[in-house]
Symmetry: C2
Subunit: 332 residues, 2 copies
C-alpha cells in the first residue's frame, strides 16, 4: 500500500492504520449527530464534521486504546465523544460580538448566526455526554467532564488575559492547557482507561497528550507569524485579534520603552495601522522571540515522546512518537 | 412561623420546608461556580445565581427525593446540577445576533458580551456534569444528558419553527418540552431515582415534572399577551421577537385571509408597526385564543396533579400539588 513510504505524513500513516476504527467512529458521529426534530442541526454540523479535518483527537483515543491492547467496543464511543466536544468548541468559538464583526474581517460564522452556533454546539456537548454514558465507565465520565471544565475555564481566562501585556508565560501555559491540551490529554487518558491499562501507562498516555497538545498549540501560535497560511490560518490573524501569544510575550519581556508603547497600542488599545504587523514581526525577529518559541515547542514535543518510553513497544506507539515529531516539523 | 398561612405562596411554602437543603444547595453552587483561574466566571454568574430566582427547578429535585424518603446526600448535588444547567441555558439564551441588537430593543446580555455568555455557560455545563459524576449513578447521568440533548434540540427547533406560520400545536409542544419540560421532568425524575424509588413512582414524578413544565411554559407564553409584566417579562416581548407561541397558533388556525396576511407580515416578515401588538391582541381575543390557551395550561396542570396520585401521601406531595395549582393561578 506504500503507506510506510517516508513521504506519507505521520498522521496519514496513523489514519491508515486506524482506518477500520475511524470508519466506525465516523458512522457513529453521523448517527448521533442526526436530529429527528431539528433539521438545522445536521445542516450546521455537516460542514464541520464531514469536511473532516485531520481528526487527530479521535485518532489519539483510538491509538491510546490500541497501544494498551483494547479490542473494543467503547473506544469508538470515546473517540466520537472527543470529536463532538472538539466540534462544539469550534462552534462556540465561532460566536462573535458586534465589535469583532465591526472590525471588518471575515468571521468564522459567516454561514450561521451566533444563536445557531451556540445551540448546535450545546446539542453536540449533550450528545457527547450521552456517548460517554454509554460506556458505563464512571472514571471516563469524570475525566471528560473535568476536561470540559478546564477547556471553558481556559477560554474564559483567555478573554481577559489575551489583551493584557502583564500576561506572562505561566498564564499563557494555563490558557493553552485549557484551550488545547486538556482535550488532547483526556483523549489519550480515556483510551488507556477504557483498555484497563496499568496506572503508570494511563499516566504516561495522559502526559503524552498533555505535552503533545501544548506543543501543538505553541506551534499554531508561532505559525501565525511564521507560516505560509497552508493550514487554513492567515498570517497575522492572532495579531489582528489582539491575542498575546507566546512569541509576543517573549518579545514584550525584552521590550524597551518605545517597543512597549507599540505593543500597548496594538494589543491593549487595539489601535492597529498599516505596517504594524510588519513592525511586530520585526520586533519578534530582533529579540529572537520566534526562535525561542520554537525551542519551547520542541521541548514539549520531546516531553511527549519521553512520556511514551514506559509504554509497551508497538507500531502504534511508534506512530504516536512520530506524531510528536510531526507537530514541530511543521515549523521547518 | 406563619408559613402555613394562606397568603404565603406555594413555592414560598416549599422553599421554607426545604430551607436547610436549599442552604446546602446554595453553598454547593457557590463552591462549584468558583474558578481559581478565571475571575470573570463568578462575575458573570453572580448576578444570575445569587440574584436567586425562585429556584423552582432545584426545589423540585429536593422535593422529589424527599417524597421518596431519601435522606441524602446526593439530592444536594443533583439540585445544584439542575440549577447549573438552567443557568447555562439562560446564559446561552442571552447570546444575540446583530440583527436582534439592531432592532433596538434592550437585549438580555447588556452586561456581558456574547463570548462571555457562551463560555461561562459552557463552564457551568461542565460543572453540572462533574456534579452528576460525583453521585456515582450512571442512570442519573443518562437522564440528565438526555435532558440536555432534548433542551438544545428544542431550542434549535424553535429557531426555525417560531417564525413559520405552518407551525402547529404539535411542533409547539415539542419546542416546549425541549425548552422547559425536559429539565423539569429530569429534575423530578433524578430525585426519585437517587432515592431508589419504585419504578412506578419514578415514572409518576417524571410525568409530574413533564406536565408541570409544559403548563408553566404555556402560562409564560400566555402572560406575554395577558400579564401585567410583574414576572419580569414585558407584554409583547414574544411578539416583537416574532415567536409563534400557542395563543398565536390558535388564532392563526382560525384566521381569515386578511388576518393571515397580518400574521404573515408581523411574524414571518417581521414587519411590525405601531398598533400591531394591539391588533394582535384584538385578534387573539376575537378568536378566544387566550381563553383556549388558558384551558390547555389548566389541563396540563391537572395532568401534573393526577400523576402524583400514586405517590405516597406526605406534606411534600401536597406541596408539589399546590405548585401545580399555583402555576396556572398566575393567570387569574
Amino acid at each position: 500500500m506504500g503507506l510506510d513510504n517516508a513521504s506519507v505524513k505521520p498522521h496519514e500513516r496513523l489514519a491508515a492504520h486506524l482506518s477500520d476504527d475511524m470508519a466506525a467512529v465516523n458512522a457513529l458521529i453521523r448517527e448521533r449527530m442526526a436530529s429527528k426534530h431539528a433539521p438545522r442541526i445536521p445542516e450546521v454540523t455537516a460542514h464541520l464534521v464531514e469536511a473532516g479535518g485531520k481528526r487527530l483527537r479521535p485518532m489519539l483515543t483510538l491509538a491510546a486504546a490500541g497501544v494498551c491492547g483494547y479490542e473494543g467496543p467503547y473506544h469508538i464511543h470515546l473517540a466520537a465523544t472527543v470529536e463532538f466536544i472538539h466540534t462544539a468548541t469550534l462552534l462556540h468559538d465561532d460566536v462573535v460580538d458586534e465589535s469583532a464583526q465591526r472590525r471588518g474581517r471575515p468571521t468564522a460564522n459567516l454561514l450561521w448566526d451566533n444563536k445557531s452556533s451556540v445551540l448546535v454546539g450545546d446539542y453536540l456537548l449533550a450528545r457527547a455526554f450521552q456517548l460517554m454514558t454509554d460506556t458505563g465507565s464512571m472514571r471516563v465520565l469524570s475525566i471528560l467532564s473535568n476536561a470540559s471544565a478546564t477547556i471553558s475555564e481556559g477560554e474564559v481566562l483567555q478573554l481577559t488575559a489575551a489583551q493584557d501585556l502583564r500576561t506572562g508565560e505561566d498564564i499563557y501555559l494555563q490558557v493553552v492547557r485549557g484551550k488545547t491540551a486538556a482535550l488532547f490529554s483526556a483523549a489519550t487518558e480515556v483510551g488507556a482507561v477504557i483498555a484497563g491499562a496499568d496506572e503508570t501507562v494511563v499516566d504516561a498516555l495522559r502526559d503524552y497528550g498533555d505535552a503533545l497538545g501544548i506543543s501543538f498549540q505553541i506551534v499554531d501560535d508561532l505559525l501565525d507569524y511564521w507560516g505560509t497560511g497552508e493550514i487554513g490560518k492567515n498570517i497575522g490573524d492572532d495579531f489582528r485579534e489582539r491575542k498575546l501569544t507566546l512569541p509576543l510575550i517573549k518579545a514584550v519581556a525584552k521590550a524597551d520603552a518605545t517597543e512597549r508603547a507599540f505593543w500597548s497600542k496594538v494589543i491593549e488599545k487595539g489601535n492597529q495601522e498599516d505596517g504594524d504587523l510588519e513592525q511586530a514581526i520585526a520586533l519578534l525577529t530582533k529579540h529572537g522571540a520566534l526562535e525561542d518559541t520554537r525551542k519551547v515547542a520542541i521541548a514539549w514535543s520531546d516531553k511527549a515522546k519521553a512520556a511514551l518510553e514506559i509504554v509497551p513497544e508497538s507500531d502504534l506507539r511508534d506512530m504516536l512518537c512520530d506524531i510528536a515529531d510531526y507537530v514541530v516539523a511543521r515549523l521547518k
